[in-house]
């Protein structure tokens, strides 16, 4: 950000004339860094100079005059020259940053003049951290910029949400623009970022029209520094440790509890432990005998009848799966400089994070290269170019035994503590081969590569003393996504001398390559002037065109001739699947913005965009989106007599605007016969099939999001305390959803149309305090910032007249959880007999008989049964709304201080209120209450109902109790097991030191910083009171591995959250 300001100032013309004395000096910031481009002016004259790249200035003045030193973003300072000829000035950063400039659509704006809801963070937010990608680094930093990281995987890069639920029809997330052009933030070099700005209301986003319906995120990269060439090298090295679940690892305990759960829930004595090992009462008895006699564990014997291995082991599979820690390193080099006419910046980055898996490590790496430059070709014309090349590579291993399954799920299903990893002859055991053994074999996984090349060429032409500017740019972007999936059989042995394989049904290679070519061009003119000192006017108008063409090729072929083959030429089988894919869309629009300010007191802004999109039928193709916002700086009024020491600034803001949501799949209004491959063999092959096209929508038009926003900004106590708050209502109307449910006889989902409305109400606020005092004669600067945001969405219109709970309904609060009220456990058979019947809706045992220790649900509707009634709002049976899974009161806390070149900071983020009902597959929570052979969470021990332990948290042991969300006693949502997953997380903490200049300048270094920082090192949630701290991180309750099973639930089968400690340094020359 700073650099942009420098540039603006550098261009500003100044006048200089002779004086008698020459005063020289250096302007620095509070940390001693030179401030190039600061203005040094003789007070009361228009004589002034700018500081050079080293912050140095030289000005001629007369004795007795006063120098005013000012710099955007800093408090200006006035110094009497007296007889001094050398004056060194240290400027304090402006507490309020009132002079701060904020990036908005197609330009920048002074923060004081903002009328819409816009927020911004600068590069500081990302300094000294180690985040696998930029998206992860932005979590929690801006209020109501919601990034839902579902687990700790380095490639996690969910879409950005601004201000809560957007649309239940077409959906939609925030538009992300990198230097004005759509792009993938997860492929950016975090060190290149100058600022990230979010446009939250319709008024600020309107200039982007249809794509900005749900807010805009503007990411701006750094510009070349002015003056001499700077070289900055920074590097950090981190140590990352996974969250490891606490499961029972004792083989006998596991098997004993397995058989008990199995008998109760599966209704007979088990014959196998799932499918891996044989099981019998005799085997369990023998295991018990060994445990009780103190015979050593981990013995492998051979069954005399079948000749198969028999295991008496105790294996901690997660210990074998994960390394104790992994590392990551990040190297970044930036070279930047400029002359009178040209400026350049070249940056490069290498990021490398070896995976956390001990075998088949999921290595992650990223390479970024950016070259940015500008040249002043003519006095009025500047050309700029910005190119970016980035690649990301990640290896996602999986287990092939059951097709392609994420490791966490397959350990739960197939890999059990009583089984060791290896047989005596070194082959894998049946338990190991499905999961960790597959990793040890090390051949099954997806190699994922993403690359982006982007080039923007632009110009700025200035006319009439820079009052009128014309800007234009053209961007070409190419994205490549390559996924290569390999599945080969893995050898194992269940009896000596016999080698078997799992995964024989697959043995194939899949290449899935997708390319997107994206073009964008903008041309716009901007006029800016002030009339009669009081009337400031800025007018912007322009044209924008973008198109995107997507192509995909997918080929799978089986019959790899050897397991290490990586090329399709070596796949010789007859199971061949091919696929293509194509999508092209284009949008074009004209946009304009008018800003008017009267005496800096009354501010008004009008935005409008006329937008066209290829995704709509021709009669609906174009739409017009206007918006208006206004601000009143009360503190600038003449009647305002409050001392600036108390209230230094007060502004009221309001905005209103309406935007169309163009976030819709292409071609939806055209009849399409899609072609796919059948899964049924006909005449010896899997033929292509096509079928009746989807029902055409019942007319289609734009969804509209209309936002009303009110804001209040004030600063108090000499700018030390600052508050920014916004409250808003966003109505998403005409959402594209299904029509009134038709009788099933129709044979298709009812045609979609613009049928539903949604209202989201919310607010966000940030409060910051910044001050300093002296400690040991040196200033200690400190700051605190607290942000809080909330939103809640309600369905206002929806085609569900019967208010069936299986669908949205009018009045529904998004995220609400319907469930039963848990009354306790049945005490005895009489208790069961006297209670309302819980069958046939639910069952606790295969025989449908309820026993003591089973869950007793409260009879809410006083009929004879516990059930879901007709599953309608008016007849929900014995259920009611018991919670809500949407996060509420999302907060962030920033603490920072610096003293004598030492700086410390901490950043906490969290959620104030959120409920979670563990899904049926949440093994970390349910253990053997789901599958009998699942791992047992340690916290279950002693926490399960028995006649002697009637007050336990969990019911009597029983497999399958949590295996179905409508028919099983734990699977159904209910009050007792509803979890409070509010949390607080210490996202980042830092301690650093800037080595004083006098120590390093003699070795030719201008700055040197060392630091140590921690990422995700602490968190707390009420959930931990139930499951114990350390067993699972609250960040791991998201849906299962989305690479392997996109869209699937099963909370917790996902990548562990990592705690990192980072050591870094940064050298500037």
């Amino acid at each position: 950000m700073k650099k942009i300001l420098l540039m603006l100032l550098f261009l500003a013309s100044t006048v200089l004339y002779a004086q008698r004395v020459t005063v020289t000096g250096t302007v620095t910031d509070s940390q001693g860094n030179p401030l190039p481009g600061a203005t040094v002016q003789v007070k009361g004259t228009n004589v002034g100079v700018l500081t050079d790249a080293g912050g140095r200035f030289s000005i001629e003045t007369g004795p007795g005059s006063i120098l005013v030193i000012s710099f955007l973003g800093y408090n200006s300072s006035e110094i009497e020259v007296g007889s001094q000829t050398t004056i060194n000035v240290s400027l304090q950063e402006s507490v309020l940053g009132l002079e701060e400039v904020v990036v908005v659509g197609y330009g920048t704006q002074k923060k004081v003049n903002l009328t819409a809801a816009v927020d911004q963070v600068t590069d500081e937010t990302l300094e000294n951290r180690s985040v696998p990608n930029l998206t992860q680094g932005l979590k929690g930093v801006l209020p109501n910029l919601n990034i839902n990281l579902m687990d700790g995987k380095p490639i996690q890069a969910p879409s950005f949400n601004i201000r809560g639920t957007t649309s239940i029809g077409q959906g939609g997330s925030a538009l992300v623009l990198i230097d004005g052009v759509e792009g993938d933030p997860s492929l950016l070099n975090p060190n290149d970022i100058a600022s990230v700005s979010i446009l939250k209301d319709a008024a600020s986003a309107a200039i982007y029209g249809a794509r900005g319906a749900f807010g805009v995120v503007l990411i701006t990269t750094k510009n070349p520094e002015k003056g001499r060439t700077h070289i900055t090298y920074s590097s950090n090295y981190s140590i990352k440790k996974p969250t490891v679940p606490d499961f029972v690892t004792d083989g006998y305990t596991f098997l004993k509890m397995f058989s008990e759960a199995f008998v109760n829930g599966d209704g007979s004595f088990p014959q196998n432990v799932n499918k891996e090992t044989k099981f019998s009462q005799a085997y369990l008895d023998e295991f018990k005998r060994r445990v009780e006699s103190g015979q050593p564990y981990n013995e492998v014997e051979i069954d005399p009848v079948t000749g198969e291995y028999v295991y008496y082991g105790s294996t901690d599979w997660y210990d074998i799966l994960y390394k104790d820690f992994t590392t990551a390193s990040d190297h970044n080099l930036t070279v930047s400089g400029s002359s009178d006419k040209a400026a350049f910046l070249v940056s490069g980055r290498l990021m490398d994070q070896p995976g956390i898996f001990r075998y088949s490590s999921d290595d992650y790496s990223m390479m970024n290269l950016r070259a940015k430059g500008s040249i002043q070709v003519l006095p009025w014309l500047m050309l700029e170019n910005n190119s970016d090349y980035s690649t990301m590579k990640y290896y996602n291993p999986f287990s092939v035994g059951e097709g392609a399954v994420d490791i966490w799920n397959i350990i739960a299903v197939d890999t059990h503590p009583h089984s060791p990893m290896f047989n005596p002859d070194g082959t894998l055991t049946t338990g190991a081969v499905y999961s960790v053994g597959d990793f040890w074999y090390g051949k099954n996984g997806i190699t994922m590569k993403k690359g982006v090349f982007k080039n923007t060429t632009g110009f700025t032409a200035s006319f009439f003393d820079n009052k009128f500017r014309v800007k234009g740019d053209f961007t070409l972007r190419k994205d490549d996504v390559e996924n290569v999936t390999k599945r080969v059989p893995v050898p194992y042995s269940s009896k000596p001398g016999v080698l078997l394989h799992v995964g024989t049904a697959t043995n194939d290679l899949k290449n899935d390559w997708a390319k997107t070519q994206y073009l964008s061009t903008n041309i716009y003119g901007e006029f800016e002037d002030t009339f009669n000192n009081d009337h400031y006017v800025k007018v912007l108008a322009g044209y924008n065109y973008e198109e995107s063409t997507y192509n995909r090729i997918l080929v799978t072929r089986n019959g790899l001739i050897y397991p290490d083959a990586v090329d399709l030429n070596l796949a010789l089988g007859q199971a061949i699947t091919t696929g293509g894919g194509y999508e092209k869309w284009a949008i074009m629009g004209g946009f304009s913005r008018i800003n008017y300010a009267f005496k800096d007191r009354y501010l008004i802004e009008v935005n409008a965009r006329y937008d066209g999109s290829s995704k709509f039928p021709s009669n609906q193709r174009f739409a017009f989106f206007p918006s208006i916002s206004a601000g009143w700086r009360v503190s600038k009024e003449s009647f305002w007599n409050v001392s600036p020491d108390i209230i230094s600034d007060l502004k009221l803001r309001a905005s209103y605007g309406s935007l169309g949501n163009g976030n819709i799949s292409s071609y939806i209004y055209q009849e399409q016969f899609s072609i796919s491959q059948s899964s049924i063999i006909l005449k010896g092959q899997l033929p292509q099939i096509t079928k009746n096209p989807a029902v055409l929508p019942d007319g289609i038009t734009w969804e509209t999001s209309t936002t009303t926003n009110f804001g209040l900004d004030f600063s108090m106590l000499s700018d030390r305390l600052r508050f920014v708050g916004d409250i808003y209502t966003r109505n998403t109307t005409d959402m594209f959803t299904i029509g009134v449910t038709l009788p099933a006889l129709y044979g298709a989902t009812a045609p979609k149309g613009n049928y539903a409305d949604l209202q989201t109400k919310g607010w966000e606020a940030s409060l910051s305090w910044r001050d300093h005092f002296n400690v040991g004669s040196k200033p200690l600067n400190y700051n605190i910032r607290f942000t809080l945001a909330d939103n809640k969405s309600v369905i206002k219109k929806y085609n569900n007249p019967n208010k069936l709970l299986s669908d949205y309904y009018v009045g529904q609060v998004i995220g609400e959880i319907w469930g039963y009220v848990t009354e306790g456990f049945f005490i005895d058979d009489e208790d069961v007999a006297n209670h309302a019947k819980q069958s046939p809706q639910m069952r606790a045992s295969p025989t449908h008989i309820w026993y003591p220790g089973d869950i007793k649900f409260k009879n809410l509707n006083d009929d004879d049964y516990i059930n879901i009634g007709t599953n309608r709002v008016s007849d929900p049976g014995d259920r009611k709304i018991i919670g809500n899974k949407s996060p509420r009161y999302i907060y962030g806390i920033n603490l920072g201080a610096d003293w004598n070149n030492i700086f410390v900071s901490a950043f906490f983020e969290g959620v104030g209120k959120q409920d979670w009902y563990p899904s049926t597959e949440a093994e970390y929570f349910w253990g053997q209450y789901n599958r009998p052979y699942n791992n047992i969470p340690l916290w279950h021990l002693g926490n399960m109902w028995t006649p002697d332990n009637p007050n336990a948290y969990l019911p009597r042991t029983m497999s399958r109790a949590a295996s179905n969300a409508t028919t099983r006693e734990l699977g159904v949502a209910q009050t007792k097991y509803l979890q409070n997953v509010a949390y607080i997380r210490l996202k980042n903490i830092q301690l650093g030191y800037n080595i004083p200049k006098d120590l390093i300048s003699r070795i030719g270094i201008s700055s040197l910083r060392v630091y140590v920082s921690g990422e995700d090192i602490w968190s707390w949630s009420p959930l931990y009171k139930i499951v114990g701290k350390g067993h699972m991180d609250v960040g791991n309750i998201g849906p299962r591995d989305q690479v392997i099973r996109p869209g699937a639930g099963a909370d917790g089968f996902n990548y562990p959250i990592m705690k990192s400690v980072i050591f870094g340094l940064s050298v500037g020359i």
Partner: protein, 594 residues
């Protein structure tokens, strides 16, 4: 000069706008258009390929609800007071829309009328199949022969059509298919041919004929014979022209099971099959389903049904007065050789890592001792997941023979020659030596007493016996029970083999290794190596034990008879799912389910 430049910019802007606007017209290129699909034979073929998912596919679990299987839990449908309209399902019509869309749109004159009729014939075959399944499940259903529009409210919100209207339409569809499908043979046995259509016709007509005959409450008895005659003639067409035969090449002890365990369909007898193929990675889960203690239903035959397998000489097993107390190892000897190809017995072996090992019934799986092997492969490699490579028959010649025999028997026109060509052929393949050439004249009292008290005709009785045995586990049984109006069979006791006494271990396959023992209370100690001990106490840990002996300490095994299964007449039809009645109350609920 500067001003001129500005005009230039505006001109450029205007050009950009005009040149880009045409880009807003985009058409999909990775999907096909209607003309492409309906204007070429390849397109029609590609579309009709989508119909095959209407068939049951590679499943072997269709008989999980039947009278002859004891399963892990009582199916909710027959569990007393457990089923209701809120739990019902099956009122889905998406396949019909796909079929009707094709039939209505297959009009492109670029394709010859003969070819169009062929493909429409395929579509009508599937529409007949689709409606047949709907009628079996719900009785009256609405007949719809076009893709409905939202504006078709009279149909969408209308009532159901009568059974006669719907079934006459089904008959018209299947007749059209028989007449117009051009393919007469497909060696891969995976696609619909003219003779598969005739086979379906015989299946549908037999169902409808017997249903109307025995469900006298419909008052359609008068029309039954027409349907039965249609069934017989359709079956006869397949027998005379289809080129199929009963497969006997593997000998009487192997041929039968080879039909169910072969990778490629046994082409002489299998008419249509759901193919599995390892090279195409298309597999089924038969072993997983039939051997896993957790995945499947743990289905085993009940003793009452096993008793219907004849002696090898063709006489009823139950003629031997000692049968009630015969031990498993003895009772399975000297029987119809389909028994040893249907359940674990005798020297049945499984393969572990290439080595055959004796495999008696295992009591961590079976509840009765009669453990099915009809669909499973012997190698235990296939047990653990979806790995089976055997193809699953959907239509086979033996069914057509049985359809013929039953239709003729019901019509009273079955001759000795008919008998020899149908049931006789099947019994001969199973190694049975007696009663192959002449139709039976003696009614087996066991069948009358246990299965069909109202049938006295020995031919009908024997055809029904034959159908039960020959087609067991192939998904016919529940529909047979419905059309014979013998729902009460679903109440039959779930019984297992005879256990003479507690504690003493039994050797089930006479390999010298003791296999299973039953006890009450405390498990015998020391335990005999290799023996599975099954607790048959009244209660275990205070909970009712579903696995008991009939006379307490001895007698037949029984399973889960504490869970009452109760057949009621309303169960001849499923209820219309409650939510579908909410969206269209004019459907009206089936009687008894309101």
């Amino acid at each position: 000069m500067i001003m001129k430049k500005q005009y230039l910019w505006f001109a450029l802007l205007a050009i950009l706008f005009v040149s880009c606007e045409k880009e807003l017209d985009q058409t999909p290129v990775s999907t096909a258009s209607k003309t492409a699909v309906f204007g070429s034979k390849d397109g029609l073929e590609m579309y009709t390929n989508s119909f095959y998912s209407i068939l049951p596919g590679r499943t072997t679990k269709l008989d999980a609800m039947s009278d002859y299987l004891a399963v892990r839990t009582v199916p909710t449908f027959i569990h007393e007071n457990a089923f209701a309209a809120t739990l019902s399902s099956g009122w889905t019509w998406t396949d019909l829309r796909n079929l009707n869309y094709f039939i209505v749109n297959c009009v492109d004159p670029k394709i010859s009328a003969t070819d169009r009729k062929h493909y429409i014939g395929i579509a009508k075959f599937f529409r007949a199949y689709f409606y047949f399944e709907k009628v079996k499940r719900f009785g009256d259903v609405p007949w719809v022969n076009k893709p409905l529009d939202v504006a078709d409210t009279l149909i969408l919100y209308g009532g159901r059509d009568s059974r006669t209207l719907v079934m006459d339409s089904v008959l018209a569809d299947i007749n059209y298919a028989c007449e117009n499908i051009l393919t007469t043979t497909d060696q891969s046995r995976s696609t619909i041919t003219k003779y598969v259509a005739y086979a379906l016709k015989s299946r549908i007509c037999l169902f409808e004929g017997t249903f109307r005959k025995y469900h006298t409450e419909l008052n359609l008895q008068a029309t039954a014979d027409t349907w039965l005659t249609n069934a017989a003639t359709a079956a006869k067409t397949v027998m005379d022209e289809g080129g199929f035969s009963v497969y006997t090449t593997g000998g009487p002890d192997k041929s039968y099971r080879a039909l169910f365990t072969s990778d490629s369909p046994v082409a002489s007898e299998i008419m249509l099959s759901a193919i599995s193929d390892i090279t195409l990675k298309v597999l089924n889960d038969a072993n997983w389903y039939w051997t896993s203690g957790t995945y499947g239903d743990k289905a085993s035959f009940i003793r009452t049904f096993i008793n219907t397998y004849l002696n090898i000489d063709g006489t009823p097993f139950t003629n031997n007065p000692d049968w009630p107390t015969m031990l498993f190892k003895d009772e399975v000897k000297g029987r119809d050789m389909r028994l040893q190809q249907t359940i674990r017995m005798g020297d049945y072996k499984r393969i572990v890592g290439g080595t055959p090992i004796p495999a008696p019934p295992v009591f961590s799986y079976t509840f009765t001792g009669y453990q099915p092997i009809k669909w499973t492969l012997d190698d235990m490699y296939y047990d653990s997941e979806r790995l089976n490579t055997n193809s699953i028959s959907v239509f086979r010649f033996a069914e057509v023979l049985l359809n013929y025999a039953e239709a003729k028997a019901e019509l009273g026109t079955l001759t000795d020659a008919d008998w020899a060509a149908t049931v006789g052929k099947l019994r001969q393949r199973a190694g049975i030596t007696g009663g192959l050439d002449t139709k039976p004249v003696e009614a087996d009292p066991y069948l009358i007493e246990n299965y069909f008290p109202e049938i006295t005709d020995p031919v009908i009785l024997e055809v029904r016996r034959e159908r039960g045995i020959e087609l067991c586990l192939e998904g016919f049984r529940f529909a047979d029970i419905l059309r014979w109006k013998r729902g009460e069979l679903m109440n039959m006791e779930w019984n297992g083999f005879y256990v003479p006494e507690l504690v003493t271990p039994m050797d089930l396959n006479e390999d010298g290794i003791l296999d299973v023992a039953f006890y009450q209370g405390t498990k015998p100690s020391p335990a005999v190596e290799g023996v599975t001990y099954v607790d048959v106490s009244e209660t275990i840990d205070g909970k009712t034990n579903p696995q008991l002996l009939k006379n307490g300490t001895y007698g037949e095994l029984t399973w889960m008879n504490n869970m009452v299964r109760k057949w009621e007449d309303k169960m001849y039809y499923y209820p219309i799912p409650a939510t579908d009645l909410i969206t269209n109350p004019n459907l009206e609920q089936n009687p008894g389910w309101e």
